[in-house]
């Protein structure tokens, strides 16, 4: 698990920083002008592709860290046994749903690869793009499963959001 987590983090940070760098480079190239800019026509498509992998790549970690959006006020105010039962039910449903989505996505990869469709500027086989939901939903399903068997605690040990430093010159 430790290695999986490390791999996910390295992947996310690398992809995100590259997206920023590529997209900015594209803007700068256009402002400078010249033929260089037209050679960068693939950047837009590449960054969109990377964004999709970024999004799906972070699904699992987001669940583990309790960052997915949900309205839990009612659930968390239930008596202990009911609360725990409900949490386990959510884990089970989430695990099955995301596993099924990963399964569907995998079939879509195979299906689209067979058609041999290519992407407009990168000339990649388009089927590969659907590997993002395959991996993402698989990682999500894994986290739901680990939470179901209580191997991870995604409910009570949530991270504290947003650390905010004091303004310079605040007299408090």
């Amino acid at each position: 698990m430790r290695y999986l987590r490390l791999a996910e983090r390295v992947f996310l940070v690398t992809v995100f920083l590259s997206m920023v760098a590529l997209f900015t480079l594209n803007v700068v190239a256009r402002e400078v002008g010249g033929t260089f800019a037209s050679q960068l026509a693939w950047v837009d498509e590449a960054v969109r592709l990377m964004n999709i992998f970024l999004v799906f790549g972070a699904l699992g970690l987001a669940l583990e860290k309790g960052r997915h959006v949900g309205i839990d006020t009612i659930r968390e105010s239930l008596p202990h046994t009911a609360k725990i039962t409900l949490r386990k039910m959510i884990d089970a449903c989430g695990c099955i749903f995301s596993a099924y989505m990963a399964y569907l996505a995998f079939h879509l990869v195979l299906f689209v690869l067979k058609t041999g469709q290519q992407s407009p500027t990168l000339d990649l086989p388009i089927g590969w793009i659907y590997m993002a939901p395959v991996a993402g939903f698989a990682l999500l399903s894994l986290r739901y499963f680990l939470s179901l068997i209580s191997a991870i605690d995604r409910f009570d040990s949530q991270e504290n959001e947003e650390e905010v430093p004091a303004a310079p010159g605040t007299r408090s």
Binding site: V20, T24, A62, D72, I90, F97, S172
Partner: protein, 427 residues
């Protein structure tokens, strides 16, 4: 039949399922039960097809920039400047909350984060100059609502993507509506300060003001890049977002020296996770919107409205109620994803301007977030400021009332929303 699906979604929502399941499971159920002849693979294709869009790239970039500014110095210095400029007048701490929330909200784009940040920075001082506990809490919670309106706003990017409206126009309209709302709150502060005899905060000299301006210096480049870049015709909103990330990294790392490599990695990961939590909702919501269109729900609504002889005025009132209720219970993005697909086509059929409709919708969702007894921001404020929910609810009522007045103005006088976009970008 459609009611079974809605009922399922409501049960999942109340039981505290993650929003991605609240949208995803009913969508999958709809497909399996009502559209079984459609290939299963189309379901995945719909989830991905929607989010593979250049406009939407503005979201990860703006989130990233906000994460860097909020955890570093830029946001704090902008708030410091607002405070030096207006903090010393009678009731000035109140204006600082409004102006600071706009500054911080505009960079963070998140109302809860704004409540937390502003609360920690100015709540003690509001109390010390004599504002009552409930008024201070109410103002903090209500002011954070401007985060949804002041550009760059994630809510508007999503609305623009769903309806195909111009993000630049939505941002310009949001700026105007956000300022009107801020003005309404400022009037309340003025009345409260006069009524209860709030003291003024220590005087800030011209020298201190200049110092705050110098402190803010580089931070001010941020709004210049984003707004100046977009309206000067240099960048698209997505490009402005990417450039603002690079600017934030450079300023925080080399000028303020508050960003090292380890922190950059940490903030990148946080931003990536925030991005994922929004995009998975967009992906699931995209499928839901597809089924809404397929089931011809907008046409049925229009038909029903014609049947009962309702005009645009009645329709907009109904829209206000729908979004307000939705805003009370669910997060802004999900509220958009669920309600815009069935209602937007009806609005255009009535000849309502898409930008104007966007303002109504967003203002409503923001208002839902602060409306007792369920408004989400009330609970966020309660936990981050460690104050009982009841005192926040007591304090927030005058602001909800002011909000309703602003909402009515925005709803029935379209030019308030459209004046600025038309002025900057032409008709």
């Amino acid at each position: 039949m459609i009611f079974i699906v809605i009922l399922l979604a409501v049960v999942l929502l109340v039981a505290g399922f993650e929003m991605l399941l609240v949208l995803g499971i009913p969508a999958l159920a709809t497909k399996t039960i009502f559209y079984s002849s459609m290939p299963d693979l189309a379901f995945i294709q719909k989830t991905l097809g929607g989010i593979n869009h250049t406009t939407l790239l503005a979201i990860p970039f703006f989130i990233f920039a906000a994460q860097l500014m909020g955890s570093g110095q830029i946001a704090a210095r902008l708030i410091g400047l607002v405070r030096a400029l207006v903090g010393h007048t009678r009731g000035g701490m109140g204006y600082t909350v409004i102006g600071g929330s706009m500054a911080f909200g505009s960079v963070s784009g998140s109302a809860p984060a704004t409540v937390a940040a502003m609360g920690r920075m100015v709540y003690p001082q509001m109390r010390s100059v004599g504002f009552s506990d409930k008024f201070s809490l109410g103002l903090l919670v209500a002011s954070a609502e401007t985060a949804l309106l002041i550009p760059p706003s994630i809510t508007f990017i999503i609305y623009g993507w769903m309806t195909g409206s111009s993000i630049s126009r939505l941002f310009a309209g949001g700026l105007a509506v956000g300022l009107v709302l801020g003005l309404a709150f400022a009037i309340l502060v003025k009345i409260e300060a006069w009524r209860t005899g709030v003291k003024s905060f220590e005087k800030s000299t011209a020298r201190q003001k200049l110092q705050a301006l110098l402190d803010a210096g580089w931070s001010l480049g941020m709004p210049v890049i984003i707004l100046g870049g977009i309206y000067g015709g240099i960048f698209t909103p997505t490009e402005a977002a990417a450039v603002s990330v690079v600017y934030a990294i450079l300023i925080e790392a080399f000028i303020y020296k508050s960003l090292g490599f380890a922190k950059l990695v940490e903030q990148t990961e946080r931003a990536a996770i925030s991005t994922a939590t929004i995009f998975i909702l967009l992906a699931m919501g995209g499928v839901l919107a597809f089924f809404v269109t397929l089931a011809q729900i907008p046409a049925q609504i229009t038909e029903f409205l014609t049947l009962i002889d309702a005009g645009p005025v009645t329709f907009l009132l109904a829209v206000n109620i729908c979004f307000l209720v939705a805003g009370m219970f669910i997060d802004p993005n999900s509220a958009l994803l669920i309600l815009v697909p069935p209602l937007y086509p009806v609005a255009t059929a009535f000849g309502i301007d898409p930008i104007h409709f966007g303002m109504i919708v967003t203002l409503n969702i923001g208002m839902g977030m602060i409306t007792p007894p369920f408004g989400l921001d009330i609970f966020v404020a309660s936990s981050t400021l460690d104050r009982p929910v009841m005192s926040i609810i007591k304090g927030v009522w005058p602001f909800v009332a002011a909000n309703i007045i602003v909402l009515m103005i925005i709803t029935y006088i379209p030019s308030v929303s459209l004046f600025v976009p038309n002025l900057i970008l032409g008709k």
